[in-house]
């Protein structure tokens, strides 16, 4: 549940980041579309305007030609007013002057020519459907031109004027427009009008030729709303209309452009753009989803790893707790033991153990095949097997045999163990040992190191019926057994060179007077110096068993805290017991040592700095030898002024009693400052009763 929640938050957080580019992408797409749409519209407007202006110009040119003809013939009419029959020639001349003129009429006011009657209008025009011209008088009650618009506006006009389109049922027999110019007599009076007709069809061909878009169309509308030119069918869908009014001609031109024509390309390009953008977004989504999945997986793996690490860390603690501590072998006994184990991973397959039973030191070192957790499990088993089997058995070969039989049982994975097991008689120094395929330990006799050369038995765990052989060696006081696992000899440096047995032997050559702990430390340092920065590849285990010199040193190290003095008395009691010393002198030695140690603890180190003081004691030739050493400021307590005990108490200075007591109790007290240490050596020879 908790994981789900964190996953949800995680997803929300990560998807939130993805949402930003998606939103940007959409905004950009939309802006692009709107911008392009605006541009397209603007383009269409311009295109249509240009087309309309073209059409207008063409129409104006066509009409202008007619105007020019009529305007130029008008003076001729005025000149020929006297003879009404001359008007036919002028009209014919008019028609012949321009192919656009369909017909031309000249009409006069009521009774202008009395001989011609009330009406007089002559008309010359193309016969419908043929090229021949027909000239005739058309005025009369059936054709009352006085009422006609072209005539009326022609009379009223100052120069010339176009009529609205109209259907002429007598002259042209079609829709037409007439350009009319007034006729004046010599007195300047308006006496009639001359007009030239143009059929709307003539203009229609111009209008129809206007086609800025494939499906656009153009219409022409008269001032009175009459539609002169229009398509037979309207296009489907929405469209945009552009309008142009032809000034002074009572005409309106429009262009209708369907959206599909105008925006078609934009739509296609926008759809393409959106498609590309969507593909991009989906790709981003997909990639983001995949990487999120990976992140989740990674996160889960990390959490799992953390769990494993936590557990391994616990396992490591457990494994480390299996290792014996120095406390199990008292430092005052006749052996000195020290072990070290550094697993290559959290846990390792190496083991060592030792303990004392019946004045014998049981010890072993082993190496389980493999590394990590599987090895660690077998190591734990081996550890308890060693303890269990050696609890009632003092024969290494039978212990090994039982060990091998137990491990071999059900060992389907064929894990195996190499082990060196020894039992040291702490009194005699005899070591009975059995080596089950383990690296030969180094024995250091009189400072001379050499490998134990006896042929090892079979390693443990592979052959249930294997036999194991014990051997014996003697450890004289001061001699050591140095045991190790291949983590030492096979330690690699960065150049892939092995530490090797030769080097181990060379290091051991310097072990002569060293304690077990110092031997372990030196070997470790030599190895670290060798491998430098190379990673530790195998578990490393070292174990040193050393018989101490005849007289055992007992040491006690105290921090410079006065309460540490409480540890002195138990330490002395143990020392007295182990060395069989008479308890009578305990109290005196306790007092003298307490005085000396208290002195160091309180005064050797500057206030607030940490330091320690070490007391070492040994029994030598019926004397107790004590040495107190500290790294504090050089100070010789023997040179300090002692309390003058003969002065009456009231006048005595309190102090100086301690050193007096020490001198009083001890047979010999000596001080020296050597290698940065204060050394106070005390010897008590009297009153020693060995029991």
């Amino acid at each position: 549940m908790k994981d789900n929640i964190s996953k949800y938050h995680f997803a929300k957080k990560e998807l939130g980041k993805i949402a930003i580019p998606i939103v940007i992408l959409f905004v950009v797409s939309l802006s692009y579309y709107l911008y392009m749409r605006h541009n397209t519209l603007r383009g269409a407007e311009i295109r249509s305007e240009v087309a309309l202006e073209n059409a207008e110009n063409m129409i104006l040119a066509r009409l202008g030609k007619i105007q020019t003809v009529v305007n130029s013939l008008q003076p001729l009419v005025e000149y020929a007013l006297e003879d009404p029959d001359d008007m036919f020639d002028i009209a014919r001349h008019t028609i012949e002057s321009s192919s656009s003129i369909m017909g031309s009429g000249i009409a006069f006011k009521e009774d202008y020519y009395p001989q011609k009657g009330h009406w007089y209008e002559i008309y010359v025009g193309h016969q419908a459907g043929c090229d021949t011209l027909v000239a005739r008088e058309v005025g009369g009650p059936e054709h009352d031109y006085f009422q006609m618009e072209w005539y009326q506006s022609g009379l009223a006009a100052e120069k010339g004027v176009w009529s609205n389109p109209y259907y002429d049922n007598v002259g042209g027999m079609s829709y037409m427009m007439t350009y009319a110019v007034p006729i004046h007599d010599d007195n300047g009076e308006v006496v009639g009008a001359i007009g030239a007709d143009i059929t709307v069809d003539t203009l229609a061909s111009i209008v129809r030729s206007i086609k800025p878009y494939p499906h656009s169309f153009c219409t022409l509308t008269a001032g009175d709303g009459t539609v002169l030119v229009a398509p037979t069918a309207l296009p489907k869908g929405r469209y945009k209309v552009f309008t142009e009014i032809i000034e002074g001609r009572n005409l309106t031109l429009t262009i209708t452009v369907p959206y599909s024509d105008m925006y078609g390309r934009l739509w296609r390009s926008t759809i393409f753009f959106v498609f590309v953008a969507l593909t991009g977004i989906l790709s981003v989504f997909f990639i983001a989803y995949r990487s999120l999945q990976n992140l989740w997986k990674l996160n889960e793996v990390r959490i799992k790893e953390q769990h494993i690490e936590d557990e391994l860390s616990i396992a490591r603690d457990i494994q480390q707790s299996l290792l014996p501590t120095g406390a199990s072998v008292s430092p005052t006994k006749k052996v000195d033991v020290c072990g070290l184990q550094i697993p290559a991973k959290y846990v390792g397959g190496d083991l060592y153990d030792y303990y004392v039973r019946d004045n014998k030191l049981f010890f072993c070192i082993g190496d389980v095949s493999g590394k990590g957790v599987p090895a660690a499990l077998l190591m734990a088993i081996s550890h308890s097997l060693f303890r269990t089997l050696s609890a009632h058995d003092e024969n290494p070969e039978s212990i090994m045999q039982s060990f091998n039989a137990t491990i071999s049982d059900n060992n389907s994975d064929m894990m195996f163990i190499t082990m060196f097991l020894g039992i040291l008689n702490m009194e005699t120094g005899t070591v009975k040992y059995c080596n089950a395929g383990h690296n030969p330990p180094i024995i250091i006799r009189n400072g001379q190191p050499e490998f134990i050369a006896t042929k090892p038995s079979l390693l443990l765990g592979v052959e249930p019926n294997a036999t194991y052989t014990s051997h014996t060696l003697d450890l004289a006081p001061g001699d050591s057994l140095f045991l190790y696992t291949d983590g030492l000899t096979e330690a690699e440096n960065v150049r892939k060179e092995l530490f090797g047995e030769e080097r181990a032997l060379n290091v051991a050559a310097g072990f002569c007077k060293l304690t077990a702990e110092e031997q372990v430390k030196q070997m470790r340092e030599a190895m670290q110096l060798f491998v430098e920065k190379a990673e530790q590849s195998d578990d490393l285990t070292l174990l040193v068993v050393r018989r101490t010199e005849t007289d055992t040193n007992a040491t006690l190290t105290l921090n410079n805290n006065i309460n540490e003095l409480d540890r002195l008395e138990p330490f002395l009691e143990e020392f007295f017991q182990q060395n069989g010393l008479a308890m009578e002198s305990l109290s005196k030695i306790d007092l003298a040592l307490e005085e000396a140690l208290a002195n160091v603890i309180m005064y050797a180190y500057p206030e607030g700095t940490a330091g320690d003081v070490t007391l070492s004691m040994r029994v030598e030739n019926n004397a107790i030898c004590m040495e107190i050493s500290d790294g504090g400021v050089p100070f010789n307590p023997l040179q300090q002024q002692e309390a003058d005990l003969d002065v009456p108490l009231e006048k005595r200075k309190i102090g100086g009693l301690g050193i007096h007591l020490i001198k009083e109790i001890m047979d010999s007290v000596a001080y020296e400052y050597r290698e940065g240490k204060n050394l106070l050596k005390l010897v008590l020879t009297t009153e020693i009763n060995n029991i």
């Binding site: 208290a598 309390a643 005990l645 108490l649 005595r652 009693l657 301690g658 007591l661």
Partner: protein, 101 residues
């Protein structure tokens, strides 16, 4: 180390229980304050359960002794064990401390 102080009339008894070593001497400096305040009385230091004394312990006794001498009281030691008595001897304090019991 524990000290049990009892008052009876003009006599104050301080019973020391445990080792009067350097550590204990540091801890009891406040505990013996009532003794210092009543240094004009008879002060009995009961050493019956005190097997050990260090120089710091001696200094405590000497301090009390000094205060008593100044204020006109008296100080006695009671039931001193041989080991402690030996220390008094070594420091030549055995004559200075009056012992009873």
């Amino acid at each position: 180390m524990t000290i049990n102080i009892t008052e009876e009339g003009n006599t104050i008894t301080a019973a020391f229980d445990g080792r009067l070593d350097t550590v204990a001497a540091q801890q009891i400096s406040e505990t013996i304050e009532p003794l210092m305040q009543h240094a004009d009385c008879n002060i009995i230091l009961d050493c019956g359960k005190m097997p050990f004394i260090s120089s710091s312990g001696l200094r405590i006794f000497l301090k009390i002794r000094k205060e008593v001498a100044a204020k006109g009281g008296k100080m006695y030691l009671k039931d001193v064990c041989p080991d402690v008595q030996q220390v008094f001897k070594m420091t030549k304090l055995d004559d200075l401390f009056e012992t009873i019991g």
